[in-house]
């Protein structure tokens, strides 16, 4: 894992559109993201629609008996995954602002998001 990978670097985007605990999508995506970090690719994370809820501060899952994986988004920086994007329209439609999110993100409009997705070599949909 310490060695530099010799292959070409591709642009990967993970598109997260689901809320965190109702389905397994969010957690699965996060695990794949962490694994992808070992391959030294150019990784971007997109949060749109209910995916924005994954980043909401103050999650506490003790009473529902599930693992609270929201602190793990703060570990991504240590994995050199620093490109996190939130769609402005989705965030605002849910009454959220950047201050409500557990990690710093870049807020993009739908138009900007369209361009970002179009530029990717690989899009992984969750």
């Amino acid at each position: 894992m310490d060695e530099e990978s010799s292959g070409t670097v591709k642009k990967f985007a993970f598109i997260n559109r689901k809320a965190p605990y109702g389905t397994i999508y969010a957690l699965e995506s996060l695990e794949v993201v962490l694994i992808s970090a070992a391959f030294d690719q150019d990784v971007s994370l997109v949060f749109a629609d209910d995916g924005v809820y994954q980043l909401k501060k103050g999650q506490g899952t003790k009473a529902v008996g599930m693992k609270n994986f929201s602190p793990t988004y703060r570990a991504l920086e240590g994995y050199d995954i620093e490109k996190l994007y939130v769609e402005k329209e989705s965030m605002e439609a849910r009454g959220l602002t950047e201050e409500d999110l557990i990690v710093p993100v870049e807020v993009l409009t739908s138009q900007e998001m369209a361009t970002l997705m179009d530029e990717q070599d690989v899009v992984l949909s969750f």
Binding site: I15, R17, K18, Y25, A48, D49, E87, E89, S90, S110, M113, A114, T115, M117, D118, Q120, D121, V122, V123, S125, F126
Partner: protein, 99 residues
Amino acid sequence: MLHIVNKSPSERNAMSSCLRMAKKGSTILLIEDGVYAATKGSVVEKDLKAAMADMQVYALWPDLEARGMQDTVIDGIKQVDYAGFVDLVAENKNVQSWL
């Protein structure tokens, strides 16, 4: 870029989010319950027609037929079979599935 939508536009927001975040020049393929978006009178008909000015829209006809919606498809939407589905995936650089 190819966008695939497989959810009904009246039950989920997948279709409207796709229309909002698809870049001009993209291709949209409607499959499974997503084919309801391709039919006249759907909740996204207006938006879809507007998007068709600069996007290609396809619907998987076996899914249209299965749902009895084959006779009410919006003009300008092209119908493909499974082989056509594969061609669309192959000829696009990348694919986003609006799950």
